[in-house]
């Protein structure tokens, strides 16, 4: 067994720094009273995240592992960057949100977000079932709390209880699956499991499949693919909007990173056995997510279903026969696009719903008159989510699509495109509200705070830039050897 004592601990620099900063913020919060507006904490959090992100980038040439428990490779690096930027966006949104909702404990809010981020970072970097699981739970438990953070709000607490119970069950499923994996291999190291699994499968096909399926149920829950998605709309609707953004983007992508590492590394040798299953789940997810989204009137709930559908798109490359590197390029690209467009959309949603005091789609009425910039930005995000050119979302989908065709899963690709067309209805439904309806009577001109405007600008720029020049990123990705 490899020793952790003489490992290269510098590999963990970003995590350690983030932890320290998070604790620092927590301490500062302690020293500045229990309640009240603390925007400086938000700024500090963003700065911490950016520092961490810079550290991640700076260490990008180093790849290695700590006792095969903690791995730093391109995969981890890209996912960490996505997560960190995503959380930074979420915190920007939160700052606006918390200004409007003074009953939320701010210091704790930011601290928990940062802890969750840390959990996500550990998740995507870990190569050991235990570490991976603890990371996942760190993320999950923080998320349960965050979902109920507006504790005077009936919907918020209801969302939290649903989340914690169903999430707990999902964790149990994951653990149950893991227990067999451990039992049959005698190790919790993913790399070792991956090495042994092919042979083991010949020996115990049923039990390996069973453990895989149990884990799939749990992971499917975390990334909200159909039919494990049921919790998502309720929790997304009830949670405070920034938390919804966090859940639907950061949490989902981190879990996705986990799934990728598990399925590609640990289960890679029995790809043929689960790819078809994942393809079915992907198809169901795309169909049901998009179909239900058609009927939604609550914008957060709509985004939940949209997020479910997007998760379906993300599963497609995983289910197709491609080399891991190509799969990863595709998913990473879509991941970046997803972060930008969804969080951008959530920024606008937060702004609008907090101003309107309701979350109905009609709160978007005439947004174009009230804030042209936000309306245009939202249009870009929605168009990108719908997968129309020239946006990151479009190219991401193209990438997935070509991957699927190359991998021989044309039927899945066709479902993907067809359901994207269905999604036009609801994405453009919001666009319709913004441009073609008159503003509601009491709505005033929106004055987004600077931070939010900057964030939205960044998101729009990246969304469009990746739409125009996807090659710059994909070329870079293609040069990667993603996994350690």
């Amino acid at each position: 067994m490899l020793s952790a004592f003489d490992a290269n601990w510098s590999l963990m620099t970003p995590e350690i720094v983030l932890l320290c900063l998070a604790l620092l913020i927590f301490t500062i919060d302690f020293m500045t009273g229990i309640k009240g507006s603390k925007p400086f904490l938000g700024r500090l959090s963003i700065i911490s995240l950016l520092i961490t992100a810079i550290l991640v980038v700076l260490t990008n040439n180093v790849s290695g592992n700590i006792a095969q428990v903690f791995i730093v490779d391109k995969f981890a690096m890209i996912f960490k960057l996505i997560i960190l930027v995503g959380v930074a966006f979420v915190i920007t949104i939160s700052m606006h949100y918390l200004e409007k909702n003074s009953d939320v404990y701010q210091g704790e809010f930011y601290s928990l977000l940062l802890f969750a981020t840390l959990g996500a970072m550990i998740m995507v970097s870990s190569a050991d079932l235990i570490t991976l699981f603890v990371g996942l739970e760190l993320l999950s438990i923080s998320s349960y709390c965050l979902a109920g953070f507006k504790k005077r709000n009936k919907k918020s607490t209801e969302a939290a209880i649903k989340y914690v119970i169903l999430g707990g069950v999902a964790s149990a499923f994951i653990l149950y699956g893991m227990s067999f994996l451990y039992g049959l291999t005698g190790t919790t190291g993913i790399l070792e499991i991956g090495r042994d699994l092919g042979a083991l499968y010949d020996q115990y096909p049923f039990i390996i499949m069973m453990s895989l399926l149990f884990m799939l149920v749990g992971f499917g829950f975390k990334i909200s693919i159909v039919p494990f998605h049921m919790w998502a709309p309720d929790v997304y609707e009830g949670s405070p909007t920034p938390v919804t953004a966090f859940l639907s983007v950061v949490s989902k992508l981190a879990a996705f990173g986990l799934v990728l590492r598990m399925f590609i590394i640990a289960f890679g040798s029995i790809f043929d056995e689960w790819s078809f299953l994942l393809a079915i789940f992907a198809a169901l997810t795309m169909i049901i997510g998009n179909f239900i989204a058609l009927t939604q009137k609550n914008v957060k709930r709509l985004m939940a279903y949209s997020g479910i559908a997007q998760a379906g798109y993300l599963v497609v490359p995983l289910a197709t026969t491609l080399t891991p590197d190509i799969t990863m390029s595709i998913i990473a690209f879509y991941g970046i696009a997803y972060v930008m467009m969804t969080l951008g959309a959530f920024a606008v949603i937060t702004l609008v719903t907090e101003s309107a005091g309701k979350e109905d789609i009609s709160s978007f009425n005439g947004l174009y008159y009230r804030s042209p910039f936000m309306a245009i930005a939202m249009t870009v995000f929605l168009v990108s989510l719908a997968g129309l050119p020239i946006t990151a979302g479009f190219f991401g989908k193209v990438y997935i699509f070509i991957g699927a065709v190359t991998g021989g899963m044309i039927w899945l690709a066709v479902i993907m495109i067809a359901t994207s067309i269905v999604s036009f209805f609801y994405y453009f439904g919001i666009i319709k509200q913004m441009y073609m309806n008159e503003p509601n009577e009491n709505d005033e001109v929106l004055n987004p705070p600077l931070s939010l405007s900057v964030m939205v600008t960044v998101a729009v720029t990246v969304t469009l830039f990746l739409g125009f020049f996807p090659g710059l990123v994909t070329k870079y990705f293609n040069s990667f050897h993603w996994f350690f």
């Binding site: 020793s3 428990v69 601290s111 840390l118 709390c145 049923f206 069973m210």
Partner: protein, 168 residues
């Protein structure tokens, strides 16, 4: 054919207790009885750990589950009005039936897999010491340990924030 020996007898007794208590958790009427039977169930499981010569874990099991968690649940139970449950419309019968069928199918599936595993019976039993666990936890799994620490911190913060009663 499995040979009947002392260990098996102990196992069977403990297993039956665990299952019976688990069943009681979900069928008993009074909430306090249910929590109590949960404690017994966990206790029986701890016994199984001893049977497996995982004494350290067994002790932890008793301390955490039987001790701490049961108390926690009783607190939880007491802080909420237990009468608030049980009134109003009952869930449709179909729900229970479907749940039963679903869970039953799952169980069948699991047992089919487990009993059909054909593992080589190991003659020797592995006996882990607390020291070995300590070396592992503070060595190989130190990251997980630190993360678990943060996890507990996060849970602590979250629980405090959520459960804290503020002046109106």
């Amino acid at each position: 054919m499995i040979e009947l020996n002392t260990q098996l007898v102990f196992f069977l007794i403990l297993a039956i207790i665990a299952i019976a208590c688990a069943v009681m958790v979900i069928i008993l009427k009074k909430i306090s009885h249910r929590v109590l039977s949960m404690a017994f169930c966990f206790f029986a499981i701890a016994g199984l750990y001893f049977l497996l010569r995982a004494e350290f874990i067994g002790i932890i099991q008793i301390m955490v589950y039987v001790g701490a968690l049961s108390i926690l649940f009783i607190f939880g139970m007491m802080m909420t009005d237990h009468k608030s449950v049980g009134f109003g419309p009952e869930r449709k019968k179909i729900h229970k039936v479907l749940s039963f069928i679903g869970v039953g199918t799952l169980l069948g599936f699991m047992l089919y897999g487990i009993l059909g595993m054909n593992l080589q019976p190991s003659d020797e039993q592995f006996i882990g010491s607390a020291e070995a666990i300590g070396i592992q936890v503070y060595g190989h799994y130190v990251i997980a340990l630190q993360a678990a620490g943060i996890l507990l911190l996060a849970a602590l913060i979250g629980a405090i924030v959520l459960a804290r009663k503020e002046a109106e």
